[in-house]
Structure formats: structure tokens, C-alpha cells
């Protein structure tokens, strides 16, 4: 998993609401900084939790380094619209005034995808940003985007393509073409879909993954988050799921917990298998953490798990 990630320069993390996208994004970022990458985490959701999970950091429109090698920034549609207006107007007060007018809001709402387009332009700018001293060195090795949930991430990724269809020529077409190239380049860009080992979440992930494939953005292995870390063996599953459970008297008070957990494990394994078969790639499972509140320590724990996934895979490849 980590290898897949470290080979890219721009990774969008998306998935159904409530699966833990933000925690996974930050854990991927932590794992990448441990591998000495300079990482930028970009939050696209205006109600995002990146700052909260990092222990109360305020995100702004410009990247700020919050830990060694880890920078964060947020994209606010109003701010980028203002910048767009500013680019044409060159006077900030005028740009602000314009954006406050009702008329402008109707016009902007009628211009489909303008904020998505500007969001991508900004992200691509960070992907390509160079350091001042060493012109040839990128400012960030990896840009991780905490992308919007399922419903909005496909339109976001499809923006350059739909814009090119609408506007094959002109000044914006050039930018759109560059964005389309960046998003479809497997050497640079990928999408990581986060899900849970539950039937409905897997259904939605399969729909989302095929929509992303249709748009032509490369996919990383699906990340199955919050998988119960405790595993029963086949024999233990059989015994616990028997009616009544086949355990000695001393363990009987705990048999209900065991049976419940066993049934959940079986359902989760079934869903992970189904996901792997449908996408023809083994998903990556991350453990459910004991904590309920996401703190930097919890993010580190999840990053440990991401590192372990990488090692296990390599070990298997060697064997």
C-alpha cells in the first residue's frame, strides 16, 4: 500500500460518508512522512476535520507545515472564486464586492463546475510547486487530497473532461487539457477509495470505483477501514457459531460475545472477498482502533498499520 502511495505525487482519498476518510488520509500522510516524503494534505470539504484530528490546527488557503514534513491547507470555494475574480480584476476589494452580489451568485451557479475546476487548478499548482532555492526540486513529494464524499468526488475528477467537451478551444481549454493529463497519469496520480467491510458500504464502493474508472483516473487498492483486529481461526469460528456455542463451561459467559464477533468477522471477510473479486485487486485492511476520538496518537497507530501492510505484502512477494 505504502509503495503504491510513495510512487505517486497526487492522491485523492474518497469514500462514503462516515468511513473514516480523514483519519485514513492523515495516516497515509504520517506513513509517507516517516518514509521521508514532504507531504501536503489538502482538505476540500469546508466542514472537514483535518485540523481537529491534528489536535486543533487551523487550516488556511496556503500550506503551513504543522509537523516535520507535513503541511496542510484547505480549499474554500469562496476563496478560490475570489482569486479567480482577482486574476481578472487585480483589485481585491472589487473582487470581494462582486462576489457578494446576488447577481454574481446566480451567474456563478449557472456556470457549472467553476469551483471544481478552480479547486483542481489549485491542487495541480501545489503538485507542481518547486522550492525557491532548488528550482528543480518539488516543494512537496506527495499531495494527499481529503476529497469530498462519494457524491461529489466523481464530478470533481470529471471536471477537466467535461470542460474540454464544452470548450475545446480557448485559454481555459489548455489548462483543462493539462489537468486531464495529470489526473489520468498513473505515474503521478491515483485515487484511494476508503470503505468498510459492510455490505452497503461495499456496494457503494463498487459503484464509485467503476465511476472513477470511467473518468479515467487510476485507482489504488481499496482501503477497508475499521476492520476488527481480533481474528478467530476457522475452527474457532465454527465452534462459536454453533447453536449453542461449543466452548467449555468456563468460557460460556463469554460465548455470546464470541458468537457475535465471529458472525461479524464472517460477514466482514465475505465483503472483503466480494470487493477483491469485483475489482480484481486485493483490498488493504486497516484495523479498528480502540479509541473513539481521533488524536495524533491514533493517527500514528493507523500509520503503523499502513506500514505493516506494506511489509507483509513484500514478504509474501519474496516468499
Amino acid at each position: 500500500m505504502l509503495g503504491d502511495l510513495l510512487h505517486r505525487r497526487l492522491v485523492f482519498v474518497t469514500g462514503k460518508g462516515g468511513v473514516g476518510k480523514t483519519a485514513v488520509t492523515l495516516a497515509l500522510a504520517a506513513a509517507a512522512t516517516r518514509a521521508r516524503r514532504r507531504v501536503l494534505v489538502v482538505e476540500v470539504n469546508p466542514h472537514g476535520r483535518v485540523g481537529e484530528y491534528l489536535g486543533g490546527v487551523t487550516l488556511g488557503p496556503e500550506p503551513v507545515e504543522v509537523a516535520p514534513g507535513l503541511s496542510v491547507a484547505a480549499i474554500e470555494p469562496t476563496v478560490i472564486l475570489e482569486e479567480f475574480a482577482l486574476r481578472i480584476l487585480r483589485i481585491r476589494a472589487l473582487a470581494r464586492r462582486l462576489l457578494q452580489s446576488q447577481t454574481f451568485r446566480i451567474v456563478a451557479a449557472a456556470a457549472p463546475g467553476i469551483d471544481d475546476f478552480l479547486t483542481l487548478v489549485r491542487i495541480a499548482g501545489w503538485e507542481d510547486a518547486r522550492t525557491g532555492l532548488q528550482r528543480r526540486r518539488h516543494r512537496f513529494d506527495l499531495v494527499l487530497v481529503d476529497a469530498p464524499a462519494t457524491g461529489h468526488s466523481v464530478p470533481l475528477l470529471a471536471t477537466p473532461g467535461s470542460l474540454l467537451k464544452m470548450l475545446p478551444f480557448g485559454p481555459l481549454a489548455g489548462t483543462a487539457r493539462e489537468l486531464a493529463l495529470l489526473l489520468s497519469d498513473p505515474e503521478r496520480t491515483a485515487v484511494a477509495v476508503v470503505t468498510r467491510a459492510e455490505e452497503m458500504a461495499v456496494n457503494e464502493t463498487l459503484e464509485l470505483s467503476s465511476a472513477i474508472m470511467r473518468v479515467g483516473v487510476p485507482l489504488l487498492p481499496t482501503i477497508v477501514n475499521a476492520v476488527a483486529p481480533l481474528r478467530f481461526s476457522r475452527a474457532e469460528l465454527r465452534r462459536l457459531l454453533k447453536e449453542p456455542p461449543d466452548v467449555p463451561a468456563s468460557l460460556r459467559p463469554h460465548a455470546a460475545a464470541g458468537a457475535f464477533s465471529a458472525a461479524r468477522q464472517r460477514a466482514a471477510e465475505r465483503e472483503i472477498r466480494r470487493l477483491g473479486r469485483a475489482l480484481a485487486t486485493s483490498p488493504v485492511a486497516l484495523p479498528l482502533l480502540a479509541t473513539q476520538r481521533f488524536t495524533p496518537a491514533a493517527i500514528d497507530e493507523l500509520a503503523d498499520a499502513i506500514e505493516r501492510v506494506g511489509t507483509r505484502r513484500r514478504a509474501r512477494a519474496v516468499a
Binding site: K16, G17, G18, H47, R49, F84, A85, I88, L89, I91, L94, A95, L98, S101, Q102, T103, F104, R105, I106, V107, A109, A110, A111, P112, I114, A149, M166, L167, G170, P171, L172, E198, E199, M200, N203, E204, E207, L230, F232, S233, E236, R239, V247, P248, S250, L251, P253, H254, A256, A257, G258, F260, S261, A263, R264, A267, A290, Q292, R293, F294
Partner: protein
């Protein structure tokens, strides 16, 4: 509750002391609100099952045409027309359950036809190139149209109770404020400007500002690749006279949401982050003076799996030592989880001491079928 305070009701099953049974018995409109991923759709459907079982003609309505509702209700189609859900043992009691999509686009079309000054004006708006974008992309139009459609269905009196699965939101009241936002956008001032874009320039005092605005509008025009301004102008001209109609409808819908037989149900899971959001939704409802029906806490660890009163099994030796160690870990984990969940639920109780709270146990397997939906309905009705 004292007898005299009760609202006269038609013949019904015996009055229930179970709070959510009472909720579906006494209300005509239940709005399920919650953040994404808490199981709002399933819970709304389960409330519909409870209502149907209690002999009510119920409909569950959703804005989101996702597969989830279809999957869990066992129906093939979900669209603007009602589809009957086949439930055992409800017909004899006079109950039924339908599922329906609140189709925003179609509702917008119907409204345009209703409020247009003439047939020709309506056709002009519907044929306008940006109408499609406006009717779907304009902030709040989806939600507003859903409320509008809901109002229309409620007025038909075909159902005793409507249960609405609202879209996931960060602010509970997003969709309630939508009508006002939409009406404001289509207000006469904006309309006048758009009919004659040069007005926007004459309003600006300085020549510099005029030139600047013209430049931005040209930039937008270039961005969208068509004569955006002219289209918007035409669209708004076509909407002339609609604005007051929209406004009065919006007011009616707002009143309808505050009626005594409407209630908001907040759906959450017992996780800290979700409970925090739910408490914020609750404060918003209270501030807006909207009727609150209760909390549904979904996916609570079932009590029968918490075995911390029994001794720690990790000392077990012999053939079952490995299994015993795992069960000991599970015992510790479930104990911690149950403790954390109780603390979160206690926060909900403190926020609304008089409101009913129902817990739906976490299922060993995810609920998607009508059968598992019935289990959730049992929990709500139990």
C-alpha cells in the same frame, strides 16, 4: 399525558406507551435528520414499517435515489411515483407502506408551469439552456423542491404519515432555509439586473468598478463557453412574477414544518464525533423552535455481548487457551466500547431530558433486507 391534552384521533390500535410507536401514531410528518453514514435511510424505512404495522398508511420519502432504500425495502424501482412495499400482516390492520422519491427536477418543472404568467412564458423558461443547471445546481433548489413536493403529497391526504429521509447535512436546517435562499436569489433586484445587465454597471459608482465588473462577467462568459449572461437574463425575465409565488409557497412550507403533528427525529450512532454533530443539530432545532420527536441511536453494541461481570477467561489453560485469550480481549474491548457508548448516550439524555431515545442494536450482519429491517422496526417499537 393527560387525556384532555390528547388530540382527537381516528380509531387506531391501543395507545402505546412506547415512544416511537406513539411518534408514528400522532404525527403526520416525521423528518429524519442526521450526518452521513449513520444509517438514516434504513432507520427511516424502519419507522415506516412500524407505522404500517400500527395500521397507518405510511410513505417513506427520500431525496437520494441511492440503491440503499431499494435494497432494504426489497423494491425494484424508486421514482416520483409511490411503490408499495410488501409487508406481512399489515394489510389486515389497514396499514400500508409506500416508498417514493422526492423528484426535485420534476417538481421545479411543475412549479414553473404553475406560476408562469402564460404558457409561452413557461415554455421559454423550460427551454432555456441554463434552466437545467439552475434547477439542479443552484444552492438550495434541490432541497426546496423536495420540501415543495412533500407539501403537495401531504396535501393529497393519501397517507396518514410521511417519513422523510433527508439528505446528509452539516446543518440540520439547510433544507429548511433553502426556500428563503432561493426566493432571495430570484428576488426582483437581481432579476432586474439580469434582465438588463448594463444596470449592474450603472449601479457602480466609479468607472473603474464598472469596467472591472464587466471584465469579470466576460471572464465567466468565456469560462462557460456560451452567452451566459444573456441566457441568465432571459431565464430571469421568464421567471418574472414567479418570485412572489415562490415566496408564498415557501412560507406555507415553513408553516407546515412547524405544525404540531410534525416532528424531527435525529438519527445518530453512539460514536463521539456523530453524537457531537447530533447535539449541534438538536441545538439548531431548538433555536429555530422546531418540534423535536426524539433520538434514534443506531448501531449500539448489544448488551448481551458485554460479559464483564463474568471472570476474565484469560487464565484458561490447555486446548482452549488461545480461544480463551481472544475472548478475554473481546471482553475488555466490549467493556470499553460499551462504557464509551453509554457516556455518549448520556450526553443526548442530558441535552433533552424529556425526549425519547431509542437504541437500535448493532447487527452481527449489516441490514439490507426487509427481514433485517423488520428487526430494526422491532427495536423501535419495542
Amino acid at each position: 399525558m393527560i387525556e384532555s391534552q390528547r388530540r382527537p384521533e381516528p380509531a387506531r390500535p391501543v395507545e402505546s406507551s412506547r415512544p416511537f410507536a406513539r411518534l408514528v401514531d400522532r404525527h403526520r410528518l416525521l423528518l429524519c435528520v442526521g450526518s452521513g453514514g449513520v444509517g438514516k435511510t434504513t432507520t427511516s424505512a424502519a419507522l415506516g414499517v412500524v407505522a404500517a404495522r400500527r395500521g397507518r398508511r405510511a410513505a417513506v420519502l427520500t431525496i437520494d435515489p441511492a440503491r440503499r432504500l431499494k435494497d432494504s425495502l426489497g423494491i425494484d424501482r424508486l421514482d416520483g411515483e409511490p411503490h408499495r412495499v410488501l409487508l406481512a400482516d399489515v394489510a389486515a390492520r389497514g396499514g400500508s407502506l409506500d416508498a417514493m422519491l422526492l423528484d426535485a427536477k420534476r417538481t421545479f418543472d411543475a412549479l414553473i408551469r404553475r406560476y408562469a404568467t402564460s404558457e409561452a412564458a413557461a415554455e421559454r423558461v423550460l427551454a432555456n439552456r441554463i434552466y437545467d443547471t439552475i434547477s439542479t445546481a443552484l444552492a438550495g433548489s434541490q432541497e426546496y423542491m423536495a420540501m415543495e413536493r412533500l407539501h403537495a403529497i401531504a396535501s393529497e391526504e393519501r397517507y396518514d404519515v410521511l417519513i422523510v429521509d433527508t439528505p446528509p447535512t452539516h446543518h440540520a436546517l439547510d433544507f429548511l432555509e433553502a426556500p428563503e435562499r432561493l426566493a432571495a436569489l430570484l428576488s426582483s433586484r437581481a432579476a432586474a439586473i439580469l434582465q438588463n445587465p448594463s444596470l449592474i454597471l450603472s449601479r457602480e459608482s466609479s468607472r473603474l468598478a464598472q469596467a472591472a465588473l464587466a471584465a469579470v462577467l466576460r471572464g465567466l462568459e468565456r469560462f462557460t463557453g456560451f452567452q451566459l449572461l444573456r441566457d441568465v437574463g432571459e431565464f430571469v425575465a421568464g421567471m418574472e412574477g414567479f418570485s412572489s409565488g415562490f415566496q408564498s409557497r415557501a412560507n406555507e412550507v415553513a408553516l407546515f414544518l412547524r405544525r404540531h403533528d410534525t416532528a424531527f427525529v435525529l438519527v445518530t450512532t453512539p460514536e463521539a464525533a456523530r453524537v457531537g454533530e447530533t447535539l449541534a443539530f438538536h441545538r439548531e432545532l431548538m433555536r429555530a423552535g422546531l418540534p423535536f420527536g426524539g433520538f434514534i441511536v443506531n448501531r449500539v453494541l448489544p448488551a448481551h455481548v458485554v460479559s464483564d461481570s463474568a471472570p476474565d477467561p484469560s487464565r484458561e489453560t490447555g486446548a482452549d487457551a488461545a480461544l480463551a485469550r481472544k475472548l478475554a480481549l473481546l471482553r475488555a474491548r466490549f467493556h470499553a466500547l460499551a462504557t464509551a457508548e453509554r457516556a455518549e448516550i448520556a450526553q443526548l439524555e442530558r441535552a433533552a431530558p424529556d425526549a425519547p431515545i431509542v437504541e437500535i442494536p448493532l447487527q452481527a450482519d449489516e441490514p439490507t433486507s426487509l427481514r433485517t429491517l423488520a428487526l430494526i422496526a422491532d427495536a423501535l417499537d419495542g
